[in-house]
């Protein structure tokens, strides 16, 4: 593994809970990895999957989407929508080759400074373990993998449409 690798992580934090939670971590002097770049959004429901994919396309190694705990959304139900969207997106991104571990959805309240630090630390560790993100469409397989891929492609070409 590349020991010099410092993951770049983009964090979409909702203004009302998670951003305040990050603030709480700061004012409480809780240490957490500096790998996260925070983007403040009005609500986790505002985080279009487009933003997450764009972050990956632009080279983020990991993405965090954090909002109010279910039931606590400032707008009533934004995080319920986000929950459905990202439950699905998680599985789908994995299918197209973006490790499920690179995306984390979590709920952090304004009082949970420690929890925020813990979420960021866990995600950073996981992404560090997964290694640098190759970039969308930049997947290059090893020779053995290429052979495996040729088989899959052949099988697909042989299948009926």
């Amino acid at each position: 593994m590349d020991t010099d690798f410092e993951p770049k992580i983009v964090g979409f934090l909702c203004n009302w809970c998670s951003y305040a939670g990050a603030d709480m971590a700061g004012t409480s002097r809780v240490r957490y990895p500096a790998n996260i770049r925070i983007i403040r959004v009005p609500c986790s429901g505002r985080v279009d999957p487009l933003y997450v994919l764009k972050a990956f396309q632009e080279g983020a190694d990991g993405v965090l989407v954090a909002g109010c705990h279910p039931g606590d959304c400032h707008y009533g139900d934004g995080n319920y929508h986000a929950r459905r969207r990202y439950a699905l997106m998680h599985r789908f991104l994995d299918f197209v080759g973006i490790d499920a571990g690179r995306l984390r959805i979590d709920w952090v309240s304004a009082a949970e400074g420690n929890r925020f630090a813990q979420v960021v630390a866990e995600l950073t560790d996981e992404v560090r373990r997964l290694g640098p993100w190759q970039g969308l469409g930049n997947g290059r397989a090893s020779t053995a993998q290429e052979a495996a891929q040729r088989e899959v492609t052949a099988a697909l070409e042989g299948r009926d449409r």
Partner: protein
């Protein structure tokens, strides 16, 4: 055998079309005609003289639902709301009718605005073989119609073993990335998949949006991958698996694999099948407070 069914359906379309136009019940019929090179293509009939050009066989792959909104508007039918009389008739297979349901649910169309010439579908052909997704299809009669053409065929649906999806899932993340890179590499960004899709009706697609420009115009794999992944996501819980996108793709990108994966996850997480009922909201337009979802 197969030919008889096709002729029966074709005659049914002509008889109904003739009647609808002569009675003035509809102003336009969306159907199929045979093109100059023998292939089936969409056709719009506005008067009785055109009726005899209407044809149907099992190679009519286009999903005609893509034309419905435009034709309804051209006939003076407003957007959904109110209850204008049927103004446009459309030849539709069961999967096409589910696409109509998606549009109706999304307020793009009112049920009363279309007269559905529903096909009792024997499955579509690719060459001389029935297409794989048609062999798996359990829905031989549309969920709604105004006239049913042909007899509901007694065909036992093949079990769906999801082998095609499972083969990709069995790869490592890096291999999957490489697999899709190789598939998307061929994309020429013609957007035929989007144009052929009844679910892709946005007036401005994110692919053409310039401010902010989400996708660059470069002919590179990342841009292509971005488009296809986002398109699949926009169709989550909305794709009716008519395979019009894959049929339209000149580069033979296995787009239905993306949509099938999505459809299966939607089914597994939310127990939902797209277009089955216009009154049931698609999974990403609703939620349950008490649900437990794996995140």
């Amino acid at each position: 055998m197969s030919g008889e069914i096709e002729i029966e359906i074709q005659n049914g379309i002509r008889v109904r079309a003739q009647k609808l136009l002569s009675l003035g019940e509809v102003g336009c019929i969306i159907g199929y005609e045979r093109g100059p090179r023998g292939q089936m293509r969409p056709m719009f009939v506005y008067d009785e003289a055109g009726v005899e050009r209407l044809v149907w066989d099992r190679t009519c792959h286009h999903n005609l639902v893509v034309y419905v909104r435009d034709k309804v508007e051209a006939q003076g039918g407003g957007r959904a709301g109110g209850a204008p009389p049927p103004r446009v008739a459309i030849v539709a297979r069961p999967c096409d009718v589910r696409a109509l349901n998606v549009l109706i649910h999304e307020g793009q169309l009112a049920r009363e605005q279309v007269f559905v010439l529903g096909i009792a579908c024997p499955g579509m052909l690719d060459g001389d073989k029935v297409m794989a997704h048609c062999r798996r299809c359990k829905e031989r009669v549309p969920v709604f119609y105004d006239a049913l053409l042909g007899e509901p065929p007694a065909i036992e649906a093949e079990d769906d073993d999801w082998q095609d999806v499972a083969e990709i899932e069995a790869l490592s993340a890096g291999e999957r990335l490489a697999f899709w890179a190789q598939e998307f590499e061929r994309c020429i960004r013609c957007y035929a998949c989007r144009q052929a899709c009844p679910g892709c009706y946005c007036f401005e697609c994110l692919a053409e949006q310039v401010d902010p420009g989400w996708i660059g115009i470069a002919h590179r794999v990342p841009e292509k991958a971005f488009f296809h992944i986002m398109r699949a996501f926009h169709l989550a819980g909305r794709c009716v698996e008519c395979h019009a996108c894959e049929q339209a793709c000149p580069m033979h990108i296995p787009l239905s694999l993306l949509n099938r994966k999505m459809a299966r996850e939607v089914q597994e997480l939310f127990g939902y099948t797209a277009g089955g009922d216009a009154d049931v909201p698609p999974p990403l337009a609703t939620f349950r407070r008490d649900e437990e979802l794996p995140l």
